[in-house]
Amino acid sequence: MNRETATRLRRRTMLAAMGIGLAIGAVGAASAQDLNGELVILNWQGGVEADLWVDLEAAFMADNPGVTVREVQITAQGDARGGIRSALLGGEVVDIIINTWPAFRAELADAGIIRPIDDEWAAHNWDSKLSQSWRDLGSIGDATYGLTYTYGDRSGLWYKTAHFEKAGIEPPTTWDEFIASFDALKAAGYATPVAIPGKYWAHAEYFETFLIRTSGVEVASALAAHEIPWTDPAVKAALMKFAEMLNAGCCGDAATMLANDWDGEADQVFLADAKNYLMIGMWMNARARGDYGMEEGVDYSLLQFPAFGLGHDDTSMVDSKEVNVTTNGANPAAAEAFLDFLLTREATDILADYGYASPSTEADTSKLGPVMQISTDAVANSKVQFVLGDLLPGDLVDEYRVQLQKFLQDPSEANIDAVLAAIEAKAASAY
């Protein structure tokens, strides 16, 4: 080997080593280098959740002074997906999308708008902070697209402690106690024990918990994927159980149920003292503390839906919020660093301050209020199923909610058959 060849080889070896080093370092570069530039986040949340994000972004910018976070805000009432789609199709370029709909995640991935984050997951060892079940929740097939930053129990019943004290009852733990509590509450002057907000979508919360408690999470999962038809006896059994609650005089007339959304029914429970139980997600906690000025665990609390004794009482419906990373974002390094930040103690403390639970192992659960601790314990000890309505194809979910409204109008067995047949007819063309 002559000197020139040796020099050339040394140079090539050095270049190759640098290349390999760069390749290895590239994935983890975000945490090692000083980040800069603008990080754009598409946010569709309002109220307290919008404030939470302002605080999270401010903390991230304080940790990374070179980065400026800008939000593209979508104003939406109800389902925000239309607004998000319009923004993306309209040419908005963002680095991160906040998402809560697994079906929408698949749509974004199919359209090539978001990308897998498996490389970042490995580089930052997020497995040490999030359990496999959270990773599975954010995955499509073998690829991970979503990093879950908060989750909530959707099988809990909110109640005002003063109502139970006045009625002389304890929070019911079994179905029979629950049904028996209606008479005690009515005798105490509450005409309608259970609030069912049927105006848009929240009435489906009850059905979904009835479904997993009567037949298990596997049936709900199979139904979401349309591996079993809506006319399956397991689905009918859930509605029959729901009908049992309606026929026990839980909820007043159907017109009243269909007139209010969840916020109106929350007012009926916590402001008007007219109703007693409300099944709704954990955002109720922020409303109870912020809007009603009540003390968590003292003025109000949460109980897991009472046990049916059918072998599936260790199940809960849950929701979660995740962040997705886009394929065309201008600042992937900052996006990666932001995802990592969301799992830190600093971020989970901010979430806890706003009453939101984090799935990160970094989270200090003692910072959560008593009601939040009830819900996180319930989820930790349950087989969980993601909210059905967020898993169904868009075409089907609307029909599903309207047919459940028809069920509320007439909970007879004949109408249950008609309702399920109508949903199945829509499902046949929706997948």
Partner: protein, 296 residues
Amino acid sequence: MALAAPRWRLRDAPAAWLLIIPVLALFSVAVVYPLIETIRLSFFDIKGLSAPKYVGFGNYLTLFADPTFRNTISTTLIFTLGTTAISVSIGWTLAMLCAFAPRRTLPFRMMVFSAFGISETVSGYMWISMLRPDQAGLLNNLIGIFSPGFSYAWLGDADTALWALVVAASWSAVGLPLLLCFASVQAISKSVLEAAYMDGAKPLSIMRFIMMPLSLPGVRVAIFINLLNALRAFDIIFILTGGGPVRATETVGYFMYRESMTQFKLGYGAAATVILLIAVLIVSIPAIIQRTAGAK
């Protein structure tokens, strides 16, 4: 001293084009292009963010086979005719009553017309508080004076929700017919009215035989505008009922929104938009022809 003639002078036709081109350009961008794009989209199957697939008239065929859409047509007819009939008849009646004392009724007319200027969203929230299902709702509270403990979910019952919506929409729509009909009544020659008085006609006769027939041009314009507004109604339905319960108040306009924005089936929603556009044209063209027939 005579003014010097300009050295150059643009001929009429080029001058007219020069003036009209900016307007045409704006019209093309703001109206013609979205219209053509909507019609084009209606021939594609677009679901969510997926790639469009050409389906020809497929969306239209699906639309007319869709029982939900067929139901929205009858709901739209009831809402449109109901709102127009109520608002125009009240507006016309008020206009004639106000015509007997125009100055003294000015504050009243201003109050009624101001409702027309309120955003439909604000008006919707106002009506929600009036139609609340509990006894805190104004309507239930008023009925409760005669029937203690009365409460009714006006917006939750499919039988009453649409009519509650018609009343709420009519309330804000009364102002325009009042204004237009009042102007028509004011345009009646004073000599005609004086002659009627001289002949001993009573106020009711004057109203019936002179003011009503001579104010018909204003009534026709009011009907035309209210029909168009009711056909396109969306905001108040969105706020008050969200198209429910069980789609009982879903009009074509709301259906179009739900399919396009909630379901994001842009092609299907565009087809519904084209149908709505045709309905608007059917209402508009005869009125426009009639109003502009004498134009030179």
